[in-house]
Symmetry: C2
Subunit: 459 residues, 2 copies
Amino acid sequence: MGVDKFTKLLDDDRSIMAPAFITPVSSGTTTPTTTTASKLTEAGIKHSSHNSNGETGDLAPLDASLMTRALTKSPKAVPEFDGPEAKAQKTMTDHMVTVSWTVEHGWAAPELKPYGPLSIMPSASVLHYATECFEGLKLYRGYDGRLRLFRCSRNCARMCRSASRIALPDFDPKELEKLIIALCAQDGPRWLPKDQAGCFLYIRPTMIGTDSALGVQRPREALLYVILSCFPDMSKSLASPAPPAMQGQANGAAKASPGLRLIASSEDTIRAWPGGFGYAKVGANYGPSLVAQGEAKAKGFDQVLWLFGSDDYVTEAGASNFFVVVREKTSGKLQLITAPLEERMILEGVTRASVLDLARERLSKSEDGAEALEVSEKRFTMKEMIEAHDEGRLLEAFAAGTAFFIAPVSIIHFRGKDIELPMGDDNGVYARRIKQWLSNIMYGKQEHEWGVVVEEKTQ
Amino acid sequence: MGVDKFTKLLDDDRSIMAPAFITPVSSGTTTPTTTTASKLTEAGIKHSSHNSNGETGDLAPLDASLMTRALTKSPKAVPEFDGPEAKAQKTMTDHMVTVSWTVEHGWAAPELKPYGPLSIMPSASVLHYATECFEGLKLYRGYDGRLRLFRCSRNCARMCRSASRIALPDFDPKELEKLIIALCAQDGPRWLPKDQAGCFLYIRPTMIGTDSALGVQRPREALLYVILSCFPDMSKSLASPAPPAMQGQANGAAKASPGLRLIASSEDTIRAWPGGFGYAKVGANYGPSLVAQGEAKAKGFDQVLWLFGSDDYVTEAGASNFFVVVREKTSGKLQLITAPLEERMILEGVTRASVLDLARERLSKSEDGAEALEVSEKRFTMKEMIEAHDEGRLLEAFAAGTAFFIAPVSIIHFRGKDIELPMGDDNGVYARRIKQWLSNIMYGKQEHEWGVVVEEKTQ
């Protein structure tokens, strides 16, 4: 039912080759290539058209090589990193990329142009039927002075799956990746100055149904766009280490930080269900969670811990994936547990996948004084969590996602009872190690195929 | 969890008095009153501010009496009723009403102004998190030459409940009703000519979160608006009678009509879930249904019959409520059955409520040769439906909603098997009677408190 590519694309991270004009760190290439429009044309890959409305034919595919470029004549002042503008999350960079689509013609030429309002008809599909999906990733300024994306191809592939689920058009995810890179190459140099290693911008690819027909039907017109936002560094307010650049500052803040405070969802509010769309990054998963999220904030918690079913199976923490480190009752072995993907109720997070990959690669054997971890994607219930906590077997809990990165959890409030997890140097060992590894890749302290260098456009 | 007013408002239809400048048919008033801005001011009711963000204070309430009016200088040509423009559902009337809201100031003065595109920031909440809700109702041109709404206060009250569920601001539903009436009074006279009794426009009140902050949070800015659309007469393509004006035409079409063809949802696609938001008219219920709807169309069906749970409990048909007339196995009595509201999985339809009200009032006793009907709001499963059909006890099935009105069902396809319901003069007796009664009220053939006359604005 519109999700037929789910399984196929689930592990396609490696299969999507980086386009010619981006340079993975692991390749060892040090000669910068340029990302001019002409370069995009050379790199453009022609492919067969995709049309989710079941129609085939000579529809234009999404093609980054056709991108036009019109630069702003009045660049904005770049605000300080993690300052008030970032916290307000209303400041976007100077440009955006937009691409329109119609069922009759397919994808138009992408446009890189000054950031500004969209003109949308009051009857547009997106405003009534939530025909919308998005992605969230970051552009990092590394310690080697270079700009990097982190496993960007995964976000682009997931955007395709989300679009399919919400009746929006298909496209080649590699072309979206090129558009993201083109925008980052344009605005990254000025908005993430080279001497401010450890800074980042938040990238928001979005697709909306712009069809002005009021009928409840697949949109016959859509708009894909990419914007870049100043975004707060949520790591700083939490107990585990911030990106390397921020460490001095973060360690200062860490002492006062209470860790992430979660409140379990009430029995009458669920986030997702089997046969629904919890796995897709569609607006319909977010709006309906905001009332519960607002109530959690009003009670002094940071996020809702979303439970499902009569067993109170733990699924997600706010808009992040959720992990625990537990000592297994019978075997006595340490397990890193997170909810499974099979039921399609939880988001297939890029950070989630990276935590699992690194844990399997680097933590499955005892090393450096740390005990080995078994990695398990399985259902984990509140009853099991409480029992593990009461028996001293619950060692860590953390949220993982692009916005919060790796955020250790200090309290889980569940129907009148608090599960407390001590925050401190002796605790959260595994979350801290994984976070540091990921941070090293994002900010170029470790060369790794997940860190994709963006060659900067010279103005 | 944001739905605390659900029970309170569930039956408040009668409690919302019509504002002074609208005249219910049942009142017997025949002197038209005017709906000028000055009249709106007189009718304006000051009330305490509503703020779903939990903040109280001197926030401006929604106040229809403050409405400004700027008329178009280039009125559009009015297309023929039920013509190609109506079928495309892209033609709106000349004007719209918009009202902006901020968490700091509350509701601004409503504006009646020329219909046109909205300027929305690419980062706006509605485009990412589906912070949107809407209503659907119609403006009818009656046989007495007057314009009428049908139980409009119910739509306005439901809009409040939907807004609460999706974290949008609260308002006095009576004020929304006044804005709807003001727009209908402005555009109704020209778009529904007096000599074309039996015509209608579709009314779409909408609210969207316009906050440009990218954070996953309650929108701090919103826009409420009302638009009027040319809309196809879906009754004409179905077997039961159209509104009185169309009867000659509709009866002609009826012979060829196959009735509504439904295909049961597959096990892996579920529309709503207990603890979700199936009861609310929010975008998040519609976008995720479009893939299944498109697949149903491709297979030659009109709508999806949405099932729930391991028992295949029948919930809704497309975006309409679903009814059956069944002879009860043991008692032998006739029952009119529709899904219950308690679990909050189905939309509390205005047409649904009206069918139930009329059936209880007019069909509970044997009369005019028709057998008495018991009315039952309860779970009804596919197994029960198949058994009733096989035993000759399934007499009728129909969908009920604003768009499709009362639409008899001819086929239900369920996992490789067809349940066929004969279409013809001898069948669908109850659906036809109820439809005729409702039509009589909507088009002013019967004076009834549900039909609310809109006094027309003289240009």
